[in-house]
């Protein structure tokens, strides 16, 4: 049996332990683990691309009592996103935390978070998902509080409280599933779920929990302070990866596991909340005074777009149109991850050099930090959805599905959201290029600007130009139901 799915989990986990034992070497261990994980994910991707979905039973115990790991195209695509973003943010973190104590505190929790995320993506068992979700949440909270100050800790506490309630709701849903169907293995459940009150109750409970964790309007209130006050690499991971985990689970539940039990109308609620998130988040981003707060509100808005896909996907019958829309959803999630992490890393760079991140006082940034400003511009292009970014193609497909299905409402929402995104990104760029005394400290090592730049290039160029490859990889048979076809 192929044990490849185990590595993306064990490598960061083992490295976390090593980082606790050898705090002085924690940065090296972290980067090495990041590279090794990326390699493992790459190999996994190659295998899945050539042979289809991989299943691995941990310890040789079959599902029922044992836990299976399942790597399908969707999971692997997100694994790749996670490894790349984590590697880049981790690289940036080596230069960010000047204090050696902070460095050694950062790495074990960071690696743990990564391990939890990867374990969740590869899980095929509902309770296992609960555990990994909790692990992910706890490590994310710890990272968010790493910054120190009162604001950060308050935000982290709120995140923790809210996240725990969400997890408990999810767990309650798991209980209902077990009570009704007697199994928690997703592969088995896939064929069993019927449209009946028990399924609906379970789905409602799990969704409630996940909506909190994915910060969908109106349960988004915890996100802006938490992401804005965390250290830059942490914010990058929180916005790009941690919230995506919850969205991924929503996809798995709504589009895959519970799909037969669903009627398209219920997905409309998600879509409407998503639309509200787009408008509310973009509006607040326009009014934000601080760059990191702007980025956090932008995350709320961008996640809203992902939820707008749900009513469209629920209404499309299985076939090429649905596959294309699904691929677009994945593409948008991926592009956002890269673009948002690039934005946060660039904001971190600016904050380090200027001592603050107030947007109106960003004058002179273009001269002092040209590479970082370029990163901001590229990330902006990807967040607004201008060509050639992946977001452009994803939005095209989104609107195309909306037109095809006659769901007109989403068109003005997406258009308005994109224009507002243009408004807030160009506002930042306008100030950055503006006159300023450049109270910036001289940049010591230009290489610190590189990770952010690379992330932005991936978002804007690679994912845009290489999108067809992603579509070919993800779309066909990415869902559990597809395994039965």
């Amino acid at each position: 049996m192929n044990s490849l799915p185990v590595w993306p989990i064990m490598l960061p986990l083992g490295a976390a332990l090593l980082a606790v034992i050898w705090p002085r070497r924690s940065a090296w261990i972290g980067i090495a683990a990041g590279l090794a994980t990326l390699t493992a994910v790459g190999l996994l991707m190659a295998q899945v691309a050539s042979r289809g979905t991989l299943v691995h039973a941990l310890g040789g115990w079959e599902p029922g009592l044992g836990i299976a790991l399942r790597a399908d195209a969707l999971a692997v695509a997100l694994l790749l996103m996670s490894s790349l973003v984590a590697l880049a943010a981790g690289w940036y973190a080596t230069g960010y935390f000047r204090d050696a104590d902070r460095q050694s505190q950062f790495w074990p929790i960071w690696l743990l978070m990564l391990a939890a995320l990867h374990a969740m993506l590869l899980s095929a068992d509902l309770f296992n998902i609960y555990v990994t979700l909790e692990l992910l949440g706890l490590s994310a909270v710890a990272l968010a509080a790493l910054g120190g100050g009162r604001a950060a800790i308050e935000a982290a506490l709120r995140y923790l409280t809210v996240g725990l309630l969400g997890s408990l709701a999810f767990l309650a849903g798991v209980a209902v599933i077990y009570a009704r169907y007697g199994t928690l293995d997703m592969l088995t459940l896939a064929g069993l779920i019927e449209p009946e009150p028990a399924s609906w109750l379970a789905l409602a409970l799990m969704t409630a929990g996940l909506l909190v964790k994915s910060a969908l309007f109106p349960l988004h209130f915890w996100l802006p302070p938490a992401h804005a006050n965390a250290p830059a690499p942490v914010s990058a991971a929180l916005s790009a990866l941690v919230v995506k985990a919850a969205v991924y689970l929503m996809m798995r539940l709504w589009l895959d596991l519970f799909a037969p039990a669903l009627d398209p109308a219920s997905a409309w609620l998600l879509g409407l909340l998503g639309a509200a998130a787009v408008l509310w988040g973009s509006w607040n981003a326009l009014r934000a005074q601080r760059l990191k707060l702007l980025a956090a509100y932008s995350t709320v808005a961008q996640l809203g777009y992902l939820f707008i896909f749900f009513p469209l996907l629920a209404a499309l019958p299985a076939g090429p149109a649905r596959d294309t829309a699904f691929g677009a959803l994945v593409l948008m999630a991926l592009t956002h991850a890269f673009a948002k992490s690039a934005l946060f890393l660039a904001a971190g760079m600016i904050q380090q050099q200027a001592g603050h991140d107030r947007i109106e006082e960003l004058g002179g940034t273009a001269r002092a930090l040209p590479v970082t400003t370029f990163t901001l511009a590229l990330a902006g292009v990807a967040l607004i959805g201008l060509p050639p970014s992946g977001t452009f193609l994803a939005k095209w497909q989104l609107l195309s599905s909306a037109f095809a299905l006659g769901q007109w409402l989403w068109v003005p929402v997406v258009a308005a959201g994109s224009l507002m995104a243009a408004g807030y990104m160009f506002r930042v760029l306008g100030f950055a290029f503006g006159p300023g005394d450049g109270a910036m400290q001289k940049l010591v090592d230009g290489r610190e600007e590189l990770p952010a730049l690379l992330l932005a290039i991936v978002a804007t160029a690679v994912l845009g130009l290489g999108a067809a490859a992603l579509w070919a990889f993800v779309a066909p048979g990415a869902l559990l139901m597809g395994a039965q076809r």
Partner: protein
């Protein structure tokens, strides 16, 4: 891998690659930057020459790249793309030379020329676009590439002007995008085909198509400065002269007009669009814009603003040409694409020369300038006469065909007054300038620009471009009947459009 597959992509790359490299060059690396610029321009010219020859002999050039399921990036050379690409390439070369002279000793030149190259890449890309999807991609890229150019000076007015420009063009771009997606969802892949594709598809609801047409035209009309979407254009005059020249003659405004031509001819098909009663409103808007632009131009003392409103007016001739059904009007509109470009760029180059060499920004300051800068003013004169429509400058040819086409289509009743009124208004705001320049005495001593002591009236790089473009404008009119002339190309395009 044959030439047919690669040539369109190479033409786009020939300005993209130098642009990217120029961004990374150090500010004081003049020689490399200039060489890259000129090298790119010449290579592009060469490639375009090959394309012209090929298309004339009915070879098919197409680059196709699948970006997403059902969405192909297509670069395709048909006669209309060749027309626009040639114009863009020639004028890019000339403007590059001009910009090098204009920006001597100015800061941030690497940034400027980098974006400049991107701007041309985008223009050439949308000229060669083979479907609406590709067109929209390069259209948006054009907005992004021109925004920093408009804001280049960095002054508060420049930033403000650029912001207005951005707001207008992004909003327009969004409308265009929505219209394009809607149409694509309804009608399938929208590869441009001469004679239009929508007429051949069954089962399309006319009301929906009309709404989509409205979205597309409004989206394109922002860049094409159709009234009332033209508000950004006078504000964008804060840009340096080479930018204004390029924007008005060949890049932004022409891109919008070109888009309208594509939508009417190669997506809807002119006869089909007429059957949906879409062309009458378009013609009305074009007519209003023509008159309005000219009227506003009369009251402007600032030279560049007067020229800006003149552009608003003149570019709508192209829209007018598309709105009149008939091959001759089509020819008139299309050939004006080229002619207006040549004439307007000459005028802007001259305006830039006056500002740069003598500090003149207003018409009222232009007394006697003809004696001080005869070459520039001669070029200006040729351009102005062409705008009015006086033979043998090229502008006359376009107006003649438009008028004739209106008669042929039976629309003479409302088109002729518009054409005549416009010519009269053009005369009213251009002739006084010419009179002042040649026949009045200067009000005061001309300032001597620092470091200037040569024989020429101004820097060579500033003088030759307007002279060259003025000569071309004259030649396009004189030799309109010659093979490979813009008129000839327009005739071929019209013939293929109406073949059905």
């Amino acid at each position: 891998m044959s030439l047919e597959t690669w040539l369109p992509a190479l033409i786009v790359l020939s300005s993209l690659l130098p642009g990217i490299i120029i961004f990374m060059l150090r500010e004081d690396n003049h020689r490399l930057r200039t060489s890259l610029n000129l090298l790119g321009a010449f290579v592009k010219l060469l490639l375009v020459g090959m394309m012209i020859w090929g298309v004339f002999h009915e070879r098919v050039f197409e680059t196709r790249w699948t970006l997403a399921p059902g969405l192909d990036l297509v670069l395709h050379a048909d006669e209309l793309s060749v027309l626009f690409v040639t114009l863009s390439t020639l004028l890019w070369l000339v403007t590059t030379v001009y910009a090098i002279g204009y920006l001597e000793n100015a800061p941030h030149r690497s940034r400027f020329f980098g974006f400049f190259s991107l701007c041309v890449t985008a223009t050439v890309g949308l000229a060669l676009a083979g479907n609406l999807f590709t067109f929209v991609i390069f259209y948006e890229m054009l907005t992004l590439a021109t925004y920093p150019l408009v804001a280049h000076k960095g002054t508060p007015e420049a930033v403000r002007g650029a912001r207005i420009y951005l707001a207008y063009t992004l909003a327009g771009g969004m409308l265009l995008l929505v219209g394009a997606i809607w149409l694509r969802t309804l009608a399938g892949p929208l590869d441009f085909a001469q004679g239009g594709i929508l007429g051949d598809i069954d089962g399309l609801d006319p009301t929906t198509l009309s709404w989509i047409f409205l979205l597309l035209i409004v989206g394109l009309g922002v860049k094409a400065a159709l009234v009332p979407l033209h508000g950004w254009l006078p504000q964008a005059m804060v840009a340096p002269a080479p930018v204004s020249a390029l924007l008005h003659a060949v890049a932004v405004v022409k891109a919008g007009a070109f888009g309208i031509v594509r939508v009417v001819y190669d997506v809807y098909g002119v006869e089909f669009a007429d059957s949906l009663n879409l062309l009458a409103p378009l013609g009305a808007v074009a007519a209003v814009t023509i008159i309005y632009g000219s009227v506003r131009a009369l009251s402007q003392d600032h030279l560049k603003k007067r020229l800006a409103y003149s552009t608003v007016s003149q570019v709508s001739y192209i829209a007018l040409g598309t709105a009149i059904v008939g091959p001759i009007a089509t020819i008139g509109g299309m050939v004006h694409l080229v002619h207006q470009g040549l004439m307007k760029i000459t005028l802007f180059f001259a305006a830039g020369n006056y500002a740069e060499t003598l500090g003149i920004h207003k018409v009222s300051e232009m007394d006697g300038v003809g004696r001080r800068m005869p070459g520039t003013t001669l070029a200006f004169t040729i351009g102005a006469l062409g705008m009015i429509g006086i033979p043998p400058v090229a502008g006359f040819v376009s107006k003649w065909y438009l008028g004739l086409g209106a008669v042929e289509a039976g629309s003479a009743a409302w088109v002729m007054p518009v054409l005549i009124a416009s010519s009269l208004l053009n005369a009213a705001y251009f002739l006084p300038i010419l009179y002042r320049a040649w026949f009045r005495e200067p009000a005061r001593e001309w300032p001597v620009p620092p470091g200037h002591g040569g024989r020429l009236e101004t820097h060579a790089f500033l003088l030759w471009p307007p002279v060259i473009t003025a000569t071309l404008a004259l030649a396009a009119g004189l030799f309109a009947a010659a093979p490979y002339s813009p008129l000839e190309w327009a005739e071929i395009i019209a013939a293929r459009e109406y073949r059905k």
